[in-house]
Symmetry: none
Subunit: 304 residues, 5 copies
Amino acid sequence: MTITPAVKAILANYESDNPGTKANLARMLMHGNLAGTGKLIILPVDQGFEHGPARSFAVNPPAYDPHYHFQLAIDAGLNAYAAPLGMIEAGADTFAGQIPTILKLNSSNSWATTKDQAVTGSVDDALRLGCSAIGFTIYPGSDHFFDLVEEIRALAEEAKAVGLAVVVWSYPRGGDLSKAGETALDVSAYAAHMAAEIGAHIIKVKLPTDHIEQKEAEKAYAGTDWSNQADRVRHVVQSSFAGRRIVIFSGGAAKDADSVYQDARDIRDGGGFGSIIGRNSFQRPRDEALAMLAKLQRIYKGEE
Amino acid sequence: MTITPAVKAILANYESDNPGTKANLARMLMHGNLAGTGKLIILPVDQGFEHGPARSFAVNPPAYDPHYHFQLAIDAGLNAYAAPLGMIEAGADTFAGQIPTILKLNSSNSWATTKDQAVTGSVDDALRLGCSAIGFTIYPGSDHFFDLVEEIRALAEEAKAVGLAVVVWSYPRGGDLSKAGETALDVSAYAAHMAAEIGAHIIKVKLPTDHIEQKEAEKAYAGTDWSNQADRVRHVVQSSFAGRRIVIFSGGAAKDADSVYQDARDIRDGGGFGSIIGRNSFQRPRDEALAMLAKLQRIYKGEE
Amino acid sequence: MTITPAVKAILANYESDNPGTKANLARMLMHGNLAGTGKLIILPVDQGFEHGPARSFAVNPPAYDPHYHFQLAIDAGLNAYAAPLGMIEAGADTFAGQIPTILKLNSSNSWATTKDQAVTGSVDDALRLGCSAIGFTIYPGSDHFFDLVEEIRALAEEAKAVGLAVVVWSYPRGGDLSKAGETALDVSAYAAHMAAEIGAHIIKVKLPTDHIEQKEAEKAYAGTDWSNQADRVRHVVQSSFAGRRIVIFSGGAAKDADSVYQDARDIRDGGGFGSIIGRNSFQRPRDEALAMLAKLQRIYKGEE
Amino acid sequence: MTITPAVKAILANYESDNPGTKANLARMLMHGNLAGTGKLIILPVDQGFEHGPARSFAVNPPAYDPHYHFQLAIDAGLNAYAAPLGMIEAGADTFAGQIPTILKLNSSNSWATTKDQAVTGSVDDALRLGCSAIGFTIYPGSDHFFDLVEEIRALAEEAKAVGLAVVVWSYPRGGDLSKAGETALDVSAYAAHMAAEIGAHIIKVKLPTDHIEQKEAEKAYAGTDWSNQADRVRHVVQSSFAGRRIVIFSGGAAKDADSVYQDARDIRDGGGFGSIIGRNSFQRPRDEALAMLAKLQRIYKGEE
Amino acid sequence: MTITPAVKAILANYESDNPGTKANLARMLMHGNLAGTGKLIILPVDQGFEHGPARSFAVNPPAYDPHYHFQLAIDAGLNAYAAPLGMIEAGADTFAGQIPTILKLNSSNSWATTKDQAVTGSVDDALRLGCSAIGFTIYPGSDHFFDLVEEIRALAEEAKAVGLAVVVWSYPRGGDLSKAGETALDVSAYAAHMAAEIGAHIIKVKLPTDHIEQKEAEKAYAGTDWSNQADRVRHVVQSSFAGRRIVIFSGGAAKDADSVYQDARDIRDGGGFGSIIGRNSFQRPRDEALAMLAKLQRIYKGEE
């Protein structure tokens, strides 16, 4: 398929990257039902690692099988599938060449006693498994933030040199941040900005609330009505180098379908680049999940 | 011997691995009395290191000699023998080519002041000693879990590149886990899943009780009767990539023979892949141990 | 697009390769108008280097521009585009993600005083330029054959480790080979076989004549009628691990269209995997070339 | 432009450096409106990372775009532009060769729980992005000072070997320092001196007050009137190897224009080498910023 | 100085290069009297090495001093100065930052018994000496051509990774080439094309005659009148990726000024990018050389 003007414009923003990295970004942007639109929906399945298998998959038992998720992402026409080492290893051969994959290189779990993650994969793993990108989570605010940043810095430099793209999950938590602060508008915008600063190609943050966490930031946000979610999305995109970096949003825990659709409309209307939808897809029965993802794609195409 | 369909089906699940690693998995699955059944019994002897020599061997003094264990595993027709560096070095030449070996690459001991382990061997050691696999213990829940994961990540990447298999002992402990929680059903399933996520080929966990440790997980387990051990085994296997990874179970401290047999029947009936039996074999007189292991093999073959 | 059974069957033959290499093979097999058929047409443009720019491009001056060839391959819906370093560097960014590319890692030229080639690119170049494969020419028969083989051996090992595919141009020449012998049936089959032996994923040879070059081989070919080109193609494919390796055929110097079509029918009927067509496409006016390539694709689809 | 005697004299002080590093120092000293004067004004934009995007850019929204800052520095005829990895990557191609750049290799943020910084770039990044220098912040007084020093030591050694210049931001904070002490005269002079001691080519400190923080230092400062800012600047320059190292001063948070001009006159009169002006330029409307920077350049030229 | 559209258009052709390499290309294109025109004149002084000092410098004795040439290039407002290691080392500090330099990494000499060159410098040398590019000579046609190509391949890959530009002197000689053939039109075009194929950013060839050396190439050149030098230049530029690579021409041995001027007009009119002028400048008295170079610059600007 010929690259569309929308995708060309996005690729042009990655002006310091080599053609290998751009080709991998293009692969994700030109795959599936949203190919060429400049929007993307990614299926991430690291919840087994992060929350445990039963909490993640018991509600929809076929999802215990790693192949289930590859197939779901392919059948739903998603842009990419992201998972940790074991999950990718368990299907990379069967599904080779069928969908762009993102190897998540660090992971935490329910029992972690620190706001940190363990490195669980390498750039060489991503190459041998045929992945288009590496993924990495940072925790802005955490006491371990600097360590996480130094880990992704080295991994990202290595990934870019061999033509892979870099996807950063930026999840504020820990340190002095309040629980509400983790999804505050100022905090989300800052978290997205820091991911851009450390060189991420694709940034994933949570949809922000209208709470402002930092006293010092209040002035900058005063005088504007932040009650509209689309406006908050727009601010996060603006904070990611004025839209020069792809920012996608996660939906969090499973919720009712209408909320998921409304979120997508707000992301679209605010100029966001798409959604990363895990539990809201694989925790539903497969048919329901496929229907929901199809509707989300229509929303991103502006058809609903 | 021709690879059986049962073993072929298992090997096919390791789809991202190179033929070297598959050949080593096949070597273990095609060795001994259970060859070709898809089941395995492994003899592990790291108890000298972990608990001290007298606590481990005084009850059966010939077991002080490393050769004793090689010979026991060979004579019992087991699938593999696992031990730390010194134990393997002390017999690897005499018994070269007689039984697949697993070099345990980390170890703890009775005096450890942290829930951690020391790395005590290398992938190069495993190659020069003719081993089929490396072994490694992780402690999910421990404050040192992330360090352990980063150690095995690097060792596993190296091992896979040179065609070795990777066996992970996943033993929850430390952090916020209660003592009962260490063998809780949700915890065991999660521990097995995390071993799969970090890329283990063979996962070893303890047989779980029907205790549920995590409040957040209760909902996922509610409404099901977990009193049957075989059902609990089945859940752990399901949590290990829907049975795509070999999961074997340990018996723990020495106990009466009938309990050992019942455990094996439950593992078999629940779809587990076998047992790893240390103290319950080498702490018995040799004849008794051989008889017990033979009976266990008959159980796994469905003959008893 | 979902991988077709035809492509799955081909990929299954590369059983020792990692998922990264299979994904890159799949990319070529699933791209363009022949996507999914198991057939492929590749555009190679190394003639500027090999024969000089005027001899290659004067007949169709737009072809002096490297972008011309990327665009031709894309617009014709070919499976891949192959060229040396400079030609790829000159368009890899503009056309990133639009067509699989093969970086040709060695080259000769009209003035070469030996039957050898110079290494002109690296595996790292292939990664930074987003290529799916490396390409390399060997000259079976040449005094430099062993050197060439040792070069590709090292490059192929490196390429396979990082998930790239390996394409070998196997062109017998030099040493004791007669001119007619360079395309003799026994020689072509042997050349294809040696490429398979050194680990090529895709093998490119010239269409063989019915000449038998080697005295010692005559007996093996006696008693069979080799006058049919499709039969000769079938023998070359058979010699490439009984069809377990992709073998494609080159047409050589520009010639009349009907000959090109007949060659394609013979390749198809003999079980060959496709064509690599350089001068016969870019030395024609663009419209004519597009029409010819479209017809060739229909031939490979069995439509003409 | 021919190197002026003023610049030649400065370069001569870097007598152990290779010609590559001197060429990069010369590039900064010979670029823009102050070219050849021996003075320099640098635009640093790491405030997005350090304080968050909204606090930094909401007052002048075009500044959310990384291109804005490259263009501002170019249009204002500044000597160099300094920023972290992401900001440089986002414009390095578009503005290649148009202004010397300094890649800031470490960064902190508003939520940091320690007086430390994370390393966010490498010397290789600086080379591939065409930078003239690396930048690095140290926190004299902090518990992490030794770690920071050891990081910059290694990076500076590497940078000097490949002909890059080294710019050190020396910002006392943490440990036993009082808030007032952070900009005390003795502390600023000491901070500049330590930057010189660890091998910085260009040292950036804040303009010092006349406060003396250290009891042990009081005697050394007694008997002199330090009320004049130019005298304090002269002391800091003197403390930086008697003026053998370039020392530039920052203005801190945005303030009224007259204060900015007066600071520049004091820096100039005290023998300082120039200013590094971030928020005081990009937080003003572009026209106002350009006017201010032009006036500052005239001040440094002694024209106002 | 702001990059001009002419220079921007040239830089855009180097689409696979990192910003560092583009910045160094920009430095050469934006320096001296031809800055911004897209044309360049380079002073090369490797004749002492190639032909001996007396043959090179006796006619103008101040030219024995390496500083003479740096100063000449600076005073003449040339774009760059190219020389071997020793010549650059002897002036790199004195003239740091005053003119872009090209470190010539291989050299031959009058006594060479083969058509080969010795590698005399490294990429690390180029970095420590502050050079903008590396230079390298290849001898198409020579028995040593493949060795030379493999040397520059490795050096160019290393240079590009650290942001340096690559200049290739492509001088056909040796093998089956006749003396007249060394500057034949087909040979020059082919030599330029091969330099482009191996990844050169700037290509230097000799001005071609209208001789056609290769029998096989005659057809491609037949039917066109090649008596006009500008047309021959145009063909060489066309052969260098249709003008996507900078091609500059050398004047060879010293000759009368009018010939030099006419050559420049022909280069300009044929779309060439400039001249590399060694003996014709430094073998004249300095004043005469400066006058000649000034006039050449006016010619390239279209003023004469």
